[in-house]
């Protein structure tokens, strides 16, 4: 067995079980380097735990709640902003795009076609519409 530093940390965290645990215990019994490493780790952990807990005055750190502002929420917000921008662009496009319009000549042609079936159709009714630029 090589020197299993990671397994020592896991052992101290109580995360080793079964054959892994028995192998590490056997190794620690025969490997002075690893048993020394384990003793160093135990001391560091004990020192950290013995440090006093300080409470920061309010306002030094913003009340940032990772549950309230998760990454997903940011994504949703940007999606909303993007949708709003798209809608605004469509609305502006609709406003600046001219309303599609039916040509008067198309209507005249339909009226004229139907009127040509009437007995009265002829010199007494027919008219040439003035052609203006469309």
């Amino acid at each position: 067995m090589t020197h299993p530093s990671e397994s020592i940390s896991a052992y101290l965290d109580g995360e080793l079980h079964g054959s892994e645990l028995s192998q590490l215990v056997d190794h620690l019994g025969s490997c002075g380097r690893c048993s020394a490493e384990m003793e160093d780790l135990q001391r560091v952990r004990a020192a950290v735990r013995s440090l006093p807990v300080l409470e920061l005055p309010r306002g030094v750190v913003p009340d940032a709640d990772p549950v309230v502002v998760p990454l997903r929420r940011h994504k949703g917000m940007w999606a909303g902003v993007a949708a709003a921008v798209v809608i605004a662009m469509i609305a502006i496009a609709a406003l600046v795009t001219p309303d599609p319009q039916t040509s008067l000549y198309e209507l005249n042609s339909r009226f004229g076609a139907r009127a040509s079936l009437d007995p009265a159709f002829g010199p007494a009714k027919i008219v040439v519409p003035p052609l203006v630029s469309e």
Partner: protein
């Protein structure tokens, strides 16, 4: 004694009136198969000012070709339900329709006013009377049956439009049938409208719908006629005059012999195109869908999707 006199007068006048009366359709159909060329001046006194036109008419059987005499190369070929408008040999608009089975109820009585001479030719003058009011004077050429002069009158007995032949040539003009059907808009007869069957003496004869989504209804009183259009989009009407009528605000354009009104409802664009005299406009429009603001959303929708 008075009753006896009245009865004698009735018996005397009735046959005389019947003898003078002529069927309007029969009268106007006289020139349907004629062949001639003519130059016609149209002069109309409209509420928006004078509208004049000088046109050349060529008829060969049931085909009629009308062109502007003002050098702008505008030409219409019409007849038998077809209508083609070209300018500078380019197609501007074209339509083709069939007619339904509804016939206009005769609304006019026709009075013969005697023989006249027009352009050195024998002709007969007639007066068309609607609801007891003279509405048109016609002069019809004996040989061709063509209406060489037509004067339409307002209800105040004032001249609305005059159409007069300035020349008449009875040689067959030989009209070639238009082969360009690229812009043809076939309209299908439908029966789905909620429009009134009769309005101000005009009878709803036919209703159509075409592939462009344009629906229109054709009304006639036997002489004057108009079409009411319902279109998916607003109708472009350049150089129009805003007109406030009892039913709302419209845009209006008079041309020589024709009037067009345009407005919008919540659902669609509307237009009325016809040759009816001005005194009948308000009565007709008041019975049709009134102008409404379609609203911002519908404007957006039309702008985006037509």
């Amino acid at each position: 004694m008075r009753r006896l006199i009245a009865f004698v007068v009735f018996l005397t006048v009735l046959p005389a009136t019947a003898a003078l009366a002529t069927d309007l359709d029969e009268l106007l159909s006289q020139g349907k198969d004629a062949s001639y060329s003519a130059e016609q001046v149209i002069s109309c006194s409209t509420p928006d000012g004078e509208r004049d036109a000088l046109i050349r008419i060529e008829q060969d059987g049931d085909e009629l070709r009308v062109s502007s005499s003002l050098g702008d190369d505008v030409q219409i070929t019409a007849g038998a339900g077809g209508w083609t408008l070209t300018r500078d040999d380019g197609l501007v608009a074209q339509a083709n329709v069939d007619r339904g089975e509804t016939e206009a109820t005769p609304l006019y009585t026709v009075e013969e006013r005697g023989t006249v001479e027009y352009l050195g030719r024998a002709a007969m003058a007639y007066l068309l009377i609607r609801d007891g009011e003279p509405r048109a004077e016609l002069v019809i050429d004996d040989e061709t049956g063509a209406v060489v002069e037509a004067v339409t009158l307002t209800i105040e007995d004032e001249v609305y439009c005059e159409r007069r032949f300035l020349s008449l040539d009875t040689d067959a003009p030989g009209i070639e049938e238009s082969s360009d059907a690229s812009g043809n808009i076939p309209a299908t007869l439908v029966d789905t409208s909620s429009l009134p069957q009769s309005v101000a003496g005009f009878e709803l004869l036919d209703q159509y719908e075409d592939e462009d989504g344009v629906r229109f209804a054709y009304y006639s009183d036997g002489f004057f006629s108009f079409a009411l259009f319902e279109t998916p989009s607003a109708v472009a009407l350049p150089e129009a005059t805003p007109v406030e009528l009892s039913s709302g605000l419209y845009l209006r354009v008079f041309t020589a012999g024709q009037v067009t009104y345009v407005w919008e409802t919540r659902q669609s664009g509307m237009a009325l195109v016809g040759d009816l005299p001005p005194d009948l406009h308000e009565a007709v429009l008041s019975e049709m869908p009134h102008p409404e603001d379609p609203g911002l959303f519908r404007r957006w929708w039309r702008a985006l999707f037509g």
